[in-house]
Symmetry: none
Subunit: 262 residues, 2 copies
Amino acid sequence: MAKLFWVEDQSHWIDRFSAVLKQADLDGEPNHLEVYKFPEAAKQRIAVMTDQHKPDLALLDAHMNGSDQAGFSVSRALLKKWPDLPILYLSEHSGTEIEEQAITQNDAQDFIAKHQRNIEAVLCWRIKAALKKRQAQQQGEQARLRSGSLEIHTDSWEVFWKGVKLMNPHNPKRPLAPTPRKILRFLVERSPRPLSTEQIADLLEADLERFSYANYRQHIKTLRSAFDAAEGHSGEFAELCQQGRGIVTFGDAHAYFWKSDS
Amino acid sequence: MAKLFWVEDQSHWIDRFSAVLKQADLDGEPNHLEVYKFPEAAKQRIAVMTDQHKPDLALLDAHMNGSDQAGFSVSRALLKKWPDLPILYLSEHSGTEIEEQAITQNDAQDFIAKHQRNIEAVLCWRIKAALKKRQAQQQGEQARLRSGSLEIHTDSWEVFWKGVKLMNPHNPKRPLAPTPRKILRFLVERSPRPLSTEQIADLLEADLERFSYANYRQHIKTLRSAFDAAEGHSGEFAELCQQGRGIVTFGDAHAYFWKSDS
DNA sequence: TAAGCTGGTGAATAATCCGTGAGTTTTTAT
DNA sequence: ATAAAAACTCACGGATTATTCACCAGCTTA
């Protein structure tokens, strides 16, 4: 559960974004949102918060109630207590001195303009990215990609399905081979969008002359049997794929996609 | 002197920003700007760049010459060589899928819309902030290393495995040779990320012409037999490596990685 | 019903990886 | 300058991985 600490003085922005933020898929769980309309109230709250309430990320408006510095004072209060807390600004004053101050002097992780195309989505992407970065730093750089029961350690490239490490189906003592594991990663990263043969070839930096659809199919087969092996050859994964989850064919265009099982 | 690596396919943007970027006060010194108009040219250049040319920051356009992926392929080439290089996108397509891909999948440090108020200044602020963050990260490295049964005294460069000092396998009276020692240290420092031949060559500040994969392999062999010797030639370490711990081949990219035994 | 398509499969082949020993060159210490 | 140590090169071979091929089943369309 991601805990967000949000300070915003204008009600209409709160109305507009709170539902989006609560429901955004940041870590697969529902988010907890703590909103304050006044910087003073926020600061008082920060003073009494314990580590157990520590937010994962703060979202601030820089300019509030007529003062340029209101948001920054909240930021200072937060950073004093938790120096590594990522702070994002959400402001109407992009391109101004406020942005400069936020970025160069107040250790802002990001500064997002309120007035822009598709702002809700942009906000979610950036919060997600900030959380991811934070997590990577915290966990000693343990980069992980998760989707349902699947977990890919993107550093050591180990892949776990329901907690079991995926192995090479032809030789259970050996780990999943490089190309299949890359393909799996790309599929999960782009989930639930499909990846055509050409796109995979591009991502693999393979020659399109060499990398054919037959080829792609073969690697998908390897992957599927690796999943099956991890489940003790029970055929569960094959069933899952039948039901349109796991590794699924797209229907045409020689494409496959990954869909989380949960 | 900050070195910037910039890929941008449209001349008018290059004209508009190059002077600004050259003269921006990023670290108190004049900046060095390397500009490419074609992703292919950029990638070719990256392939032959050595550590001494390593840029401090890359500025990419995502969408170039009609392809959405052109910028990302440059990003991949850069990150493959220098995994911690900060990458900023400068794009006309903010709020679109391109931004999403950049931020959530391509480890973008930032994504800056070309069309915005005061863009020149914003660009400089953000570049400066990214460089500052990078520097702060680099300084936070530790002085002593421990990983499972392995301990490296980074001051005296002695290496202990299960409390036994690793010696040169060819001559048990002599300490482990410098290059294997360094390689082991880099592997452990980056654990559990793999280190390709290219990256090791970079870290050793060796010439890529000289430092080949065969070479790397040979040092790995030396290391493994040093571990084996420390265990009284029992073959335990070889077994450990078989099981994916200790010094492990990555299975791709001519890379190895270290994984703690505990 | 056949032809054309997609997508799954096993087996065969091709390519690559990686460990290895032996030898050569470069570096270092005396 | 000399010798020892370290770094590097090279080529081989077994193992592993990637790719190709031929075939089959199911579906759609003429």
